[in-house]
Subunit: 222 residues, 2 copies
DNA sequence: GCCTGCAACAAACGATTGTTTGACGGCCGA
DNA sequence: TCGGCCGTCAAACAATCGTTTGTTGCAGGC
Protein backbone atom coordinates (compact mmCIF):
# COMPACT_ATOMS: atom_id res chain seq x y z
CA UNK A 1 0.00 0.00 0.00
CA UNK A 2 1.22 3.46 -0.79
CA UNK A 3 1.75 5.63 2.24
CA UNK A 4 1.06 8.60 0.14
CA UNK A 5 -0.88 8.18 -3.05
CA UNK A 6 -0.29 9.86 -6.37
CA UNK A 7 -2.14 12.81 -4.99
CA UNK A 8 0.88 15.01 -4.66
CA UNK A 9 1.14 15.07 -8.42
CA UNK A 10 -1.66 17.52 -8.41
CA UNK A 11 -1.08 19.11 -5.05
CA UNK A 12 0.20 22.61 -4.51
CA UNK A 13 3.95 22.67 -4.22
CA UNK A 14 6.35 24.84 -2.38
CA UNK A 15 8.66 27.05 -4.38
CA UNK A 16 11.12 29.74 -3.57
CA UNK A 17 9.10 32.83 -4.32
CA UNK A 18 11.44 34.47 -6.82
CA UNK A 19 14.06 32.10 -8.22
CA UNK A 20 14.26 34.43 -11.19
CA UNK A 21 14.69 37.99 -10.08
CA UNK A 22 16.58 38.89 -13.21
CA UNK A 23 15.63 39.30 -16.84
CA UNK A 24 12.57 40.69 -18.49
CA UNK A 25 9.10 39.68 -17.45
CA UNK A 26 8.68 37.50 -20.52
CA UNK A 27 11.93 35.67 -19.89
CA UNK A 28 11.15 35.15 -16.24
CA UNK A 29 7.78 33.69 -17.16
CA UNK A 30 9.34 31.36 -19.72
CA UNK A 31 11.93 30.08 -17.27
CA UNK A 32 9.45 29.58 -14.48
CA UNK A 33 7.10 27.86 -16.92
CA UNK A 34 9.81 25.43 -17.94
CA UNK A 35 10.44 24.47 -14.33
CA UNK A 36 6.80 24.10 -13.38
CA UNK A 37 5.67 22.35 -16.55
CA UNK A 38 8.45 19.84 -16.02
CA UNK A 39 7.44 19.27 -12.42
CA UNK A 40 3.69 19.27 -12.70
CA UNK A 41 2.73 18.99 -16.34
CA UNK A 42 0.84 21.47 -18.45
CA UNK A 43 -2.41 21.00 -16.61
CA UNK A 44 -0.85 20.53 -13.21
CA UNK A 45 1.00 23.83 -13.23
CA UNK A 46 -1.40 26.70 -12.73
CA UNK A 47 -0.80 30.24 -13.84
CA UNK A 48 -0.97 31.33 -10.23
CA UNK A 49 1.87 29.04 -9.19
CA UNK A 50 3.74 29.99 -12.32
CA UNK A 51 3.48 33.74 -11.99
CA UNK A 52 4.20 33.55 -8.27
CA UNK A 53 7.37 31.60 -8.98
CA UNK A 54 8.39 34.11 -11.63
CA UNK A 55 7.62 37.00 -9.33
CA UNK A 56 5.27 38.64 -11.78
CA UNK A 57 1.62 39.49 -11.83
CA UNK A 58 -0.94 36.85 -12.67
CA UNK A 59 -2.21 38.76 -15.67
CA UNK A 60 1.26 39.03 -17.18
CA UNK A 61 0.97 35.68 -18.94
CA UNK A 62 -2.14 36.65 -20.84
CA UNK A 63 -0.72 40.09 -21.50
CA UNK A 64 2.59 38.94 -22.95
CA UNK A 65 1.63 35.61 -24.49
CA UNK A 66 -2.10 35.83 -25.08
CA UNK A 67 -2.98 32.60 -23.33
CA UNK A 68 -1.53 29.70 -21.41
CA UNK A 69 -1.41 27.61 -24.60
CA UNK A 70 0.58 30.20 -26.48
CA UNK A 71 2.97 30.23 -23.55
CA UNK A 72 3.39 26.46 -23.84
CA UNK A 73 4.20 26.87 -27.51
CA UNK A 74 6.83 29.49 -26.78
CA UNK A 75 8.46 27.28 -24.18
CA UNK A 76 8.87 24.68 -26.91
CA UNK A 77 10.14 27.09 -29.52
CA UNK A 78 12.76 28.70 -27.35
CA UNK A 79 14.54 25.43 -26.63
CA UNK A 80 13.89 23.50 -29.82
CA UNK A 81 15.07 26.31 -32.08
CA UNK A 82 18.39 26.35 -30.28
CA UNK A 83 18.65 22.57 -30.16
CA UNK A 84 18.02 22.01 -33.83
CA UNK A 85 20.25 24.85 -34.93
CA UNK A 86 23.10 23.23 -33.05
CA UNK A 87 22.22 19.83 -34.44
CA UNK A 88 22.29 21.07 -38.02
CA UNK A 89 25.47 22.98 -37.38
CA UNK A 90 27.15 19.90 -35.96
CA UNK A 91 25.88 17.77 -38.83
CA UNK A 92 27.14 20.16 -41.48
CA UNK A 93 30.61 19.89 -40.04
CA UNK A 94 30.84 16.11 -40.33
CA UNK A 95 29.12 15.29 -43.63
CA UNK A 96 30.22 15.83 -47.17
CA UNK A 97 33.47 13.99 -46.77
CA UNK A 98 34.22 10.47 -47.85
CA UNK A 99 35.27 9.30 -44.43
CA UNK A 100 32.23 10.33 -42.46
CA UNK A 101 31.47 7.69 -39.85
CA UNK A 102 28.27 6.60 -38.16
CA UNK A 103 29.74 7.77 -34.88
CA UNK A 104 30.19 11.28 -36.30
CA UNK A 105 26.57 11.59 -37.35
CA UNK A 106 25.28 10.11 -34.11
CA UNK A 107 27.47 12.51 -32.19
CA UNK A 108 25.96 15.42 -34.08
CA UNK A 109 22.51 14.05 -33.28
CA UNK A 110 23.01 13.16 -29.65
CA UNK A 111 25.49 15.62 -28.21
CA UNK A 112 23.54 18.85 -28.72
CA UNK A 113 20.57 17.21 -27.05
CA UNK A 114 22.67 16.01 -24.15
CA UNK A 115 24.35 19.37 -23.75
CA UNK A 116 20.97 21.04 -23.68
CA UNK A 117 19.81 18.57 -21.07
CA UNK A 118 22.78 19.40 -18.87
CA UNK A 119 22.78 23.17 -18.94
CA UNK A 120 20.73 25.40 -16.73
CA UNK A 121 17.13 24.31 -16.81
CA UNK A 122 17.63 22.33 -19.98
CA UNK A 123 17.21 19.05 -18.16
CA UNK A 124 13.83 20.24 -17.03
CA UNK A 125 12.87 21.09 -20.57
CA UNK A 126 13.77 17.56 -21.57
CA UNK A 127 11.20 16.38 -19.11
CA UNK A 128 8.72 18.79 -20.60
CA UNK A 129 9.50 17.29 -23.97
CA UNK A 130 9.20 13.75 -22.63
CA UNK A 131 5.85 14.68 -21.19
CA UNK A 132 4.74 16.11 -24.48
CA UNK A 133 5.82 12.94 -26.27
CA UNK A 134 3.82 10.91 -23.82
CA UNK A 135 0.81 13.12 -24.43
CA UNK A 136 0.88 11.45 -27.80
CA UNK A 137 -0.87 14.38 -29.26
CA UNK A 138 -1.52 14.87 -32.95
CA UNK A 139 -1.24 18.63 -32.82
CA UNK A 140 2.13 18.34 -31.15
CA UNK A 141 3.15 15.78 -33.74
CA UNK A 142 2.25 18.17 -36.53
CA UNK A 143 3.92 21.06 -34.79
CA UNK A 144 7.17 19.16 -34.41
CA UNK A 145 6.95 17.78 -37.93
CA UNK A 146 6.27 21.13 -39.56
CA UNK A 147 8.84 23.11 -37.65
CA UNK A 148 11.62 20.65 -37.11
CA UNK A 149 10.93 17.81 -39.51
CA UNK A 150 13.59 18.96 -41.94
CA UNK A 151 16.22 18.33 -39.30
CA UNK A 152 15.08 14.77 -38.84
CA UNK A 153 14.95 14.22 -42.61
CA UNK A 154 18.50 15.45 -43.00
CA UNK A 155 19.81 13.08 -40.37
CA UNK A 156 17.77 10.22 -41.78
CA UNK A 157 19.22 10.81 -45.22
CA UNK A 158 22.70 10.68 -43.83
CA UNK A 159 21.98 7.49 -41.91
CA UNK A 160 20.61 5.97 -45.10
CA UNK A 161 23.79 6.89 -46.95
CA UNK A 162 25.97 5.28 -44.28
CA UNK A 163 23.78 2.19 -43.96
CA UNK A 164 22.94 1.32 -47.58
CA UNK A 165 22.35 -2.33 -46.75
CA UNK A 166 19.21 -1.49 -44.74
CA UNK A 167 15.76 -1.26 -46.29
CA UNK A 168 13.79 1.91 -45.65
CA UNK A 169 11.42 0.33 -43.11
CA UNK A 170 14.30 -1.37 -41.35
CA UNK A 171 16.20 1.91 -41.12
CA UNK A 172 13.18 3.78 -39.80
CA UNK A 173 12.64 1.16 -37.16
CA UNK A 174 16.19 1.41 -35.92
CA UNK A 175 16.26 5.20 -35.87
CA UNK A 176 13.01 5.13 -33.96
CA UNK A 177 14.43 2.84 -31.31
CA UNK A 178 17.57 4.96 -31.01
CA UNK A 179 15.38 8.01 -30.48
CA UNK A 180 13.51 6.17 -27.78
CA UNK A 181 16.73 5.29 -25.97
CA UNK A 182 17.95 8.86 -26.29
CA UNK A 183 14.73 10.35 -25.00
CA UNK A 184 14.66 7.94 -22.10
CA UNK A 185 18.26 8.66 -21.19
CA UNK A 186 17.72 12.40 -21.31
CA UNK A 187 14.53 12.38 -19.32
CA UNK A 188 16.62 10.85 -16.58
CA UNK A 189 14.04 8.43 -15.29
CA UNK A 190 16.10 5.27 -15.52
CA UNK A 191 18.36 3.53 -13.09
CA UNK A 192 21.39 5.52 -14.12
CA UNK A 193 21.95 8.62 -12.05
CA UNK A 194 24.99 10.78 -11.83
CA UNK A 195 27.31 9.55 -9.09
CA UNK A 196 28.14 12.07 -6.39
CA UNK A 197 31.83 11.93 -7.15
CA UNK A 198 31.40 12.52 -10.86
CA UNK A 199 31.40 16.02 -12.28
CA UNK A 200 28.68 17.21 -14.56
CA UNK A 201 30.89 17.39 -17.65
CA UNK A 202 32.34 13.94 -17.03
CA UNK A 203 28.87 12.49 -16.64
CA UNK A 204 27.79 14.10 -19.89
CA UNK A 205 30.74 12.59 -21.67
CA UNK A 206 30.06 9.15 -20.21
CA UNK A 207 26.42 9.37 -21.20
CA UNK A 208 27.33 10.40 -24.73
CA UNK A 209 29.76 7.53 -25.05
CA UNK A 210 27.29 4.94 -23.82
CA UNK A 211 24.55 6.27 -26.05
CA UNK A 212 26.68 6.46 -29.17
CA UNK A 213 28.15 2.99 -28.80
CA UNK A 214 24.70 1.59 -28.03
CA UNK A 215 23.22 3.37 -31.03
CA UNK A 216 26.00 2.27 -33.39
CA UNK A 217 25.41 -1.35 -32.38
CA UNK A 218 21.65 -1.03 -32.69
CA UNK A 219 21.78 0.71 -36.05
CA UNK A 220 24.39 -1.34 -37.83
CA UNK A 221 23.89 -4.89 -36.59
CA UNK A 222 23.49 -7.41 -39.41
CA UNK B 1 2.49 29.35 -36.79
CA UNK B 2 0.14 26.80 -35.45
CA UNK B 3 -3.37 27.06 -36.77
CA UNK B 4 -4.62 25.49 -33.63
CA UNK B 5 -2.48 25.70 -30.57
CA UNK B 6 -1.97 23.06 -27.94
CA UNK B 7 -5.23 24.13 -26.46
CA UNK B 8 -7.16 21.04 -27.45
CA UNK B 9 -5.06 19.05 -25.06
CA UNK B 10 -7.17 20.48 -22.32
CA UNK B 11 -10.37 21.01 -24.22
CA UNK B 12 -13.50 18.99 -23.67
CA UNK B 13 -13.63 15.95 -25.90
CA UNK B 14 -16.42 14.04 -27.49
CA UNK B 15 -17.00 10.50 -26.38
CA UNK B 16 -19.60 7.88 -27.03
CA UNK B 17 -21.69 8.13 -23.92
CA UNK B 18 -21.55 4.50 -22.79
CA UNK B 19 -18.77 2.52 -24.47
CA UNK B 20 -18.92 0.17 -21.49
CA UNK B 21 -22.43 -0.94 -20.80
CA UNK B 22 -21.27 -4.22 -19.37
CA UNK B 23 -19.51 -5.24 -16.19
CA UNK B 24 -19.71 -3.96 -12.67
CA UNK B 25 -19.60 -0.28 -11.89
CA UNK B 26 -16.04 -0.58 -10.60
CA UNK B 27 -14.86 -2.32 -13.75
CA UNK B 28 -16.61 0.16 -16.00
CA UNK B 29 -14.94 3.01 -14.15
CA UNK B 30 -11.53 1.38 -14.42
CA UNK B 31 -11.89 0.83 -18.15
CA UNK B 32 -13.17 4.30 -18.83
CA UNK B 33 -10.40 5.74 -16.66
CA UNK B 34 -7.78 3.91 -18.69
CA UNK B 35 -9.12 5.38 -21.91
CA UNK B 36 -9.46 8.91 -20.63
CA UNK B 37 -6.20 9.02 -18.69
CA UNK B 38 -4.41 7.91 -21.83
CA UNK B 39 -6.12 10.56 -23.94
CA UNK B 40 -6.03 13.50 -21.59
CA UNK B 41 -3.68 12.71 -18.75
CA UNK B 42 -4.46 12.43 -15.09
CA UNK B 43 -5.22 16.09 -14.67
CA UNK B 44 -6.87 16.54 -18.04
CA UNK B 45 -9.48 13.85 -17.52
CA UNK B 46 -12.12 15.05 -15.12
CA UNK B 47 -14.31 12.79 -13.05
CA UNK B 48 -17.34 14.16 -14.85
CA UNK B 49 -16.03 13.14 -18.27
CA UNK B 50 -14.92 9.84 -16.81
CA UNK B 51 -18.15 8.88 -15.12
CA UNK B 52 -20.16 10.04 -18.11
CA UNK B 53 -18.09 7.81 -20.39
CA UNK B 54 -18.54 4.89 -18.02
CA UNK B 55 -22.25 5.57 -17.76
CA UNK B 56 -22.19 5.81 -13.99
CA UNK B 57 -22.93 8.46 -11.45
CA UNK B 58 -20.35 11.12 -10.64
CA UNK B 59 -20.16 10.10 -7.00
CA UNK B 60 -19.43 6.48 -7.88
CA UNK B 61 -15.70 7.09 -8.12
CA UNK B 62 -15.42 8.42 -4.60
CA UNK B 63 -17.79 5.76 -3.36
CA UNK B 64 -15.92 2.80 -4.83
CA UNK B 65 -12.35 4.06 -4.80
CA UNK B 66 -12.25 6.76 -2.16
CA UNK B 67 -10.67 9.41 -4.33
CA UNK B 68 -9.43 10.12 -7.82
CA UNK B 69 -5.87 9.34 -6.76
CA UNK B 70 -6.81 5.94 -5.41
CA UNK B 71 -8.50 5.30 -8.73
CA UNK B 72 -5.28 6.15 -10.56
CA UNK B 73 -3.42 3.70 -8.36
CA UNK B 74 -5.90 0.94 -9.12
CA UNK B 75 -5.61 1.56 -12.86
CA UNK B 76 -1.90 0.92 -12.49
CA UNK B 77 -2.26 -2.15 -10.35
CA UNK B 78 -4.76 -3.90 -12.55
CA UNK B 79 -2.50 -3.84 -15.59
CA UNK B 80 0.91 -4.09 -14.00
CA UNK B 81 0.01 -7.08 -11.88
CA UNK B 82 -1.01 -8.96 -14.99
CA UNK B 83 2.00 -7.77 -16.99
CA UNK B 84 4.59 -8.75 -14.43
CA UNK B 85 2.97 -12.09 -13.70
CA UNK B 86 3.27 -12.93 -17.37
CA UNK B 87 6.83 -11.66 -17.50
CA UNK B 88 7.91 -13.80 -14.57
CA UNK B 89 6.07 -16.78 -15.99
CA UNK B 90 7.77 -16.38 -19.34
CA UNK B 91 11.14 -15.90 -17.68
CA UNK B 92 10.78 -18.99 -15.53
CA UNK B 93 10.25 -21.07 -18.64
CA UNK B 94 13.51 -20.03 -20.32
CA UNK B 95 16.02 -19.87 -17.48
CA UNK B 96 17.66 -22.60 -15.51
CA UNK B 97 19.02 -24.40 -18.50
CA UNK B 98 22.51 -24.26 -19.86
CA UNK B 99 21.50 -23.10 -23.31
CA UNK B 100 19.43 -20.08 -22.37
CA UNK B 101 20.03 -17.33 -24.92
CA UNK B 102 19.85 -13.57 -24.68
CA UNK B 103 17.02 -13.69 -27.17
CA UNK B 104 15.02 -15.93 -24.88
CA UNK B 105 15.29 -13.60 -21.90
CA UNK B 106 14.59 -10.53 -24.01
CA UNK B 107 11.57 -12.28 -25.46
CA UNK B 108 10.26 -12.95 -21.97
CA UNK B 109 10.84 -9.31 -21.14
CA UNK B 110 9.46 -7.71 -24.26
CA UNK B 111 6.67 -9.92 -25.53
CA UNK B 112 4.30 -9.73 -22.54
CA UNK B 113 4.59 -5.95 -22.68
CA UNK B 114 3.91 -5.89 -26.39
CA UNK B 115 1.01 -8.29 -26.11
CA UNK B 116 -0.49 -6.15 -23.40
CA UNK B 117 -0.07 -3.12 -25.60
CA UNK B 118 -1.97 -4.81 -28.41
CA UNK B 119 -4.95 -6.25 -26.62
CA UNK B 120 -8.14 -4.45 -25.83
CA UNK B 121 -7.35 -1.15 -24.14
CA UNK B 122 -3.86 -2.29 -23.27
CA UNK B 123 -2.33 0.06 -25.82
CA UNK B 124 -4.03 2.92 -24.07
CA UNK B 125 -2.64 1.79 -20.76
CA UNK B 126 0.82 1.84 -22.28
CA UNK B 127 0.28 5.49 -22.98
CA UNK B 128 -0.86 5.95 -19.41
CA UNK B 129 2.36 4.31 -18.32
CA UNK B 130 4.43 6.41 -20.69
CA UNK B 131 2.76 9.48 -19.29
CA UNK B 132 3.50 8.36 -15.78
CA UNK B 133 7.13 7.77 -16.68
CA UNK B 134 7.28 11.27 -18.10
CA UNK B 135 5.80 12.63 -14.90
CA UNK B 136 9.16 11.63 -13.49
CA UNK B 137 7.63 11.46 -10.12
CA UNK B 138 9.41 10.17 -7.04
CA UNK B 139 6.30 8.67 -5.53
CA UNK B 140 5.61 6.78 -8.73
CA UNK B 141 9.22 5.66 -8.81
CA UNK B 142 8.91 4.27 -5.31
CA UNK B 143 5.59 2.68 -6.07
CA UNK B 144 6.97 0.88 -9.10
CA UNK B 145 10.15 -0.06 -7.28
CA UNK B 146 8.38 -1.45 -4.22
CA UNK B 147 5.71 -3.36 -6.04
CA UNK B 148 7.45 -4.53 -9.16
CA UNK B 149 11.14 -4.04 -8.49
CA UNK B 150 11.71 -7.74 -7.89
CA UNK B 151 10.73 -8.46 -11.49
CA UNK B 152 13.33 -6.05 -12.77
CA UNK B 153 15.95 -7.46 -10.44
CA UNK B 154 15.28 -10.98 -11.64
CA UNK B 155 15.71 -9.98 -15.28
CA UNK B 156 18.81 -7.97 -14.48
CA UNK B 157 20.36 -10.96 -12.72
CA UNK B 158 19.70 -13.10 -15.77
CA UNK B 159 21.17 -10.51 -18.11
CA UNK B 160 24.24 -10.33 -15.87
CA UNK B 161 24.63 -14.12 -16.07
CA UNK B 162 24.44 -14.09 -19.84
CA UNK B 163 26.74 -11.08 -20.22
CA UNK B 164 29.52 -11.78 -17.71
CA UNK B 165 32.00 -9.65 -19.61
CA UNK B 166 30.10 -6.45 -18.73
CA UNK B 167 30.73 -4.46 -15.58
CA UNK B 168 27.76 -3.64 -13.40
CA UNK B 169 27.52 0.03 -14.48
CA UNK B 170 27.93 -0.92 -18.11
CA UNK B 171 25.15 -3.50 -17.85
CA UNK B 172 22.81 -1.09 -16.10
CA UNK B 173 23.41 1.50 -18.79
CA UNK B 174 22.54 -0.89 -21.56
CA UNK B 175 19.44 -2.27 -19.87
CA UNK B 176 18.32 1.29 -19.28
CA UNK B 177 18.66 2.16 -22.94
CA UNK B 178 16.82 -0.99 -23.99
CA UNK B 179 14.00 -0.05 -21.65
CA UNK B 180 13.88 3.39 -23.26
CA UNK B 181 13.60 1.90 -26.73
CA UNK B 182 10.89 -0.48 -25.55
CA UNK B 183 8.90 2.22 -23.85
CA UNK B 184 9.16 4.45 -26.89
CA UNK B 185 8.08 1.69 -29.22
CA UNK B 186 5.12 0.80 -27.07
CA UNK B 187 3.96 4.34 -26.57
CA UNK B 188 3.64 4.39 -30.34
CA UNK B 189 4.78 7.94 -30.88
CA UNK B 190 7.55 7.26 -33.35
CA UNK B 191 7.61 7.15 -37.10
CA UNK B 192 6.62 3.52 -37.28
CA UNK B 193 2.91 2.96 -37.51
CA UNK B 194 1.07 -0.18 -38.39
CA UNK B 195 0.47 -0.33 -42.13
CA UNK B 196 -3.14 -0.64 -43.21
CA UNK B 197 -2.50 -3.94 -44.93
CA UNK B 198 -0.78 -5.53 -41.93
CA UNK B 199 -2.80 -7.41 -39.39
CA UNK B 200 -2.48 -6.68 -35.70
CA UNK B 201 -0.80 -9.97 -34.87
CA UNK B 202 1.67 -9.65 -37.72
CA UNK B 203 2.55 -6.13 -36.64
CA UNK B 204 3.11 -7.34 -33.09
CA UNK B 205 5.43 -10.04 -34.35
CA UNK B 206 7.37 -7.58 -36.51
CA UNK B 207 7.69 -5.17 -33.62
CA UNK B 208 8.91 -7.91 -31.31
CA UNK B 209 11.48 -9.05 -33.87
CA UNK B 210 12.82 -5.55 -34.45
CA UNK B 211 13.00 -4.82 -30.75
CA UNK B 212 14.69 -8.07 -29.81
CA UNK B 213 17.31 -7.86 -32.53
CA UNK B 214 17.96 -4.23 -31.70
CA UNK B 215 18.23 -5.05 -28.00
CA UNK B 216 20.55 -8.00 -28.56
CA UNK B 217 22.88 -5.80 -30.57
CA UNK B 218 22.74 -2.99 -28.02
CA UNK B 219 23.28 -5.27 -25.04
CA UNK B 220 26.03 -7.50 -26.33
CA UNK B 221 28.19 -5.28 -28.53
CA UNK B 222 31.89 -5.44 -27.57
C1' DG C 1 2.57 70.68 -20.04
C1' DC C 2 -0.21 67.35 -22.25
C1' DC C 3 -1.06 63.26 -24.51
C1' DT C 4 -0.28 58.44 -25.94
C1' DG C 5 1.21 53.75 -25.30
C1' DC C 6 3.23 50.29 -22.57
C1' DA C 7 3.66 47.49 -18.49
C1' DA C 8 2.09 45.97 -14.15
C1' DC C 9 -1.31 45.56 -10.71
C1' DA C 10 -5.47 44.07 -7.65
C1' DA C 11 -9.83 42.43 -8.23
C1' DA C 12 -13.32 40.01 -10.07
C1' DC C 13 -15.45 37.03 -13.77
C1' DG C 14 -17.84 32.56 -14.94
C1' DA C 15 -16.66 27.96 -15.46
C1' DT C 16 -14.98 23.69 -13.79
C1' DT C 17 -12.59 21.01 -10.43
C1' DG C 18 -12.75 16.94 -6.67
C1' DT C 19 -15.45 15.86 -2.98
C1' DT C 20 -19.45 15.47 0.27
C1' DT C 21 -24.13 15.13 1.47
C1' DG C 22 -28.71 13.21 2.19
C1' DA C 23 -32.38 11.03 0.18
C1' DC C 24 -34.29 7.11 -2.49
C1' DG C 25 -35.07 2.29 -3.71
C1' DG C 26 -34.14 -2.56 -4.04
C1' DC C 27 -32.33 -6.65 -2.05
C1' DC C 28 -31.50 -10.14 1.53
C1' DG C 29 -31.53 -12.24 6.12
C1' DA C 30 -34.25 -12.54 10.17
C1' DT D 1 -43.05 -8.33 6.99
C1' DC D 2 -39.79 -5.74 8.95
C1' DG D 3 -35.01 -3.71 9.41
C1' DG D 4 -30.66 -2.75 7.77
C1' DC D 5 -27.23 -2.56 4.49
C1' DC D 6 -25.73 -1.35 -0.18
C1' DG D 7 -25.42 0.98 -4.49
C1' DT D 8 -27.08 4.87 -7.00
C1' DC D 9 -28.60 9.41 -7.61
C1' DA D 10 -29.18 14.74 -7.98
C1' DA D 11 -27.59 18.53 -5.74
C1' DA D 12 -24.59 21.32 -3.52
C1' DC D 13 -19.95 22.33 -1.39
C1' DA D 14 -15.63 25.14 -1.26
C1' DA D 15 -11.66 25.62 -3.93
C1' DT D 16 -9.19 26.58 -7.95
C1' DC D 17 -8.97 27.20 -12.74
C1' DG D 18 -7.82 30.55 -17.07
C1' DT D 19 -9.14 34.82 -18.43
C1' DT D 20 -10.80 39.72 -18.42
C1' DT D 21 -11.39 44.12 -16.50
C1' DG D 22 -10.33 48.90 -15.02
C1' DT D 23 -6.87 51.48 -12.94
C1' DT D 24 -2.28 53.18 -11.96
C1' DG D 25 2.57 54.81 -12.76
C1' DC D 26 5.87 55.94 -15.98
C1' DA D 27 8.03 56.62 -19.99
C1' DG D 28 8.98 59.50 -24.61
C1' DG D 29 7.02 62.57 -28.61
C1' DC D 30 4.65 66.63 -29.93
Amino acid sequence: MLKRSFEHVRQPIKMTPHPNNVGTTKERILSAAEVLFARRGFDGASLRQLTAAAGVNLAAVNYHFGSKDKLIEQVFRRRLDALNARRLDALSRVIGTDNTTLEDVLDAYIRPALELSHDDNGALFMRVLARAFAEHDDTLRHFLSENYGHVMRQFTAEFARLLPQLSKPELYWRIDLVTGALTHAMSGFGMIQRKSGVSESVHLEQTAQHLIRFAVAGLSHP
